[in-house]
């Protein structure tokens, strides 16, 4: 059973456009939702994260939108740049409310931003 479902699997966006990646989760006990960015040959790097007590969090060009009732959250990348081309993973954990801090990841979205 896949606890975190991520879509799309791949995404092509023109430079300057908006990239949107969606995730849905099953376990209502999750209380921490990070997004990671991974370049080839590198480990995942934390991009932005949200807790369920807020519906949106923005950091620079990156925004997380969170819908607790729908059990969905999404990453929006505004003014997408070729340097944003990477694989993006959403994740969830119960780490902030308990001892089960391990992350459960979505399958990843490969983003390509065309110049």
């Amino acid at each position: 059973q896949q606890q975190v479902k991520q879509s799309p699997q791949s995404l092509i966006v023109q430079k300057g456009g908006i990239s949107i990646i969606n995730c849905a989760y099953e376990n209502t006990a999750f209380d921490y939702f990070p997004w990671y960015q991974q370049f080839p040959g590198k480990g995942p790097a934390l991009l932005i994260a949200i807790r369920p007590d807020v519906s949106e969090k923005k950091e620079g060009r990156f925004t997380i939108s969170f819908n607790k009732s729908a059990k969905q959250f999404s990453l929006h990348i505004m003014d997408s740049q070729p340097g944003d081309s990477a694989t993006y993973f959403c994740a969830a954990s119960m780490g902030f409310g308990g001892s089960q801090g391990n992350l459960i990841f979505g399958k990843g979205t490969k983003l390509s931003v065309k110049p």
């Binding site: 990070p34 480990g43 934390l46 994740a91 780490g95 089960q100 801090g101 992350l103 990841f105 979505g106």
Partner: protein
Amino acid sequence: GAGVSQSPSNKVTEKGKDVELRCDPISGHTALYWYRQSLGQGLEFLIYFQGNSAPDKSGLPSDRFSAERTGGSVSTLTIQRTQQEDSAVYLCASSFDPPGQGSEQYFGPGTRLTVT
């Protein structure tokens, strides 16, 4: 400051051999995680160490996998009698977890294991 480091960066081994993978977490981080990243399965949790507590081994795929963390710092993941399906990138992450709550996890560059 220094991030999470892992060694070796690449490891090629023959089926049936044992391998040891090393992780040096960020100084001061109390929690340490091992994950496995493979093409078919994505990123999977393996094991979690928090301070002096017993590790959470719930993600280990078989009893051929084990890990230890010495002195609350460096960790070693051992895979015995390696199989071809063990081929993957093994990632280590660490975080500073105050008691009763978690915090952001920072990943190392990974060790790419190839079993021939």
